[in-house]
Symmetry: C2
Subunit: 192 residues, 2 copies
Amino acid sequence: MQTVIDFVLELDKLKGVTRKIKPLGLERYENSAEHSWQLALLAFSLAPHADSGIDLDRTIKMLLVHDIGEIDTGDTMAFVEGGWEERKAAEQAAVKRIFGLLPQAQAAELLALWREFEDGTTAEARFANAVDRAMPVLLNLANDGQSWRENGIGYERVVARVRAPIEAGCPALWRHIDARLQEARQRGWFGI
Amino acid sequence: MQTVIDFVLELDKLKGVTRKIKPLGLERYENSAEHSWQLALLAFSLAPHADSGIDLDRTIKMLLVHDIGEIDTGDTMAFVEGGWEERKAAEQAAVKRIFGLLPQAQAAELLALWREFEDGTTAEARFANAVDRAMPVLLNLANDGQSWRENGIGYERVVARVRAPIEAGCPALWRHIDARLQEARQRGWFGI
């Protein structure tokens, strides 16, 4: 029982990892724990638009654990270029440490979910990656581009970063977001 | 697609619903969104100690949605006495409104999960309720009783409130917590 408690208290630290976007109507920045919760429910609600036959429950678990490595590394904005491999190696070391607080079978299951998300090759992982990339875009589209403007991120960089994963995992969602991003550009919601 | 986006942006409000406990090491209060994320992973890690044959995936979904009614009502501390039925009616109206943003089949599925948690009669709902009641206790036990002391909550009130649901949903967890609560009382971590 102590292993479970050590694990869940270690997870508490993800509530302190802040991202670049603010929840709608709040002055503080979002943290990776509440972000992960929202992604799980975006996956649920978006599932009818995903590949048929997808395992939604595995997708949800993937999304619940995909950011846990940030407990050791912090969040890096998706638009930061360079250092990607080093960061992923550090995140993998972090999740091995943290999942390793649990008994071996559970640790292995969580690590497999984390790797599946990172590899992005299964239908569930593609869908999960689409959800993860889409959520901050949806918040920015509802927020007059807050994190794009604060960080000097332009329209082309957003599209270059999010189009392929969203289109691969949920084409209908990309069609919607594509049109909304073009409107946002006309409204001046990008940083450059 | 717009229904999905309306729903997930409405969910964003749960990030602004604050509870009485602080994440470990942080000065702010926890919100119900990050709390729901942590519960889902506590359920995962605690599952080997739950009734055999439990449907963990349904338990996780129940925990992800169980607090969504607080978007309209706010969080009420588990120790507040009185007004319980009115609050539950208000939460039910809230989840009907919020889940109702989705197409009918998905709205019905989420409402059924929410009701199953509230009814607390299935093995999954008993386990989910045990997880929900245990998490703030585990945080208080790691936090020198922060929310108990701030709110004048005594040992007997905590035990009266959490023993039955935790024991019913996860007896091994109650045995562990029971002993830790007695230690906490000796250390003076309760409000009265």
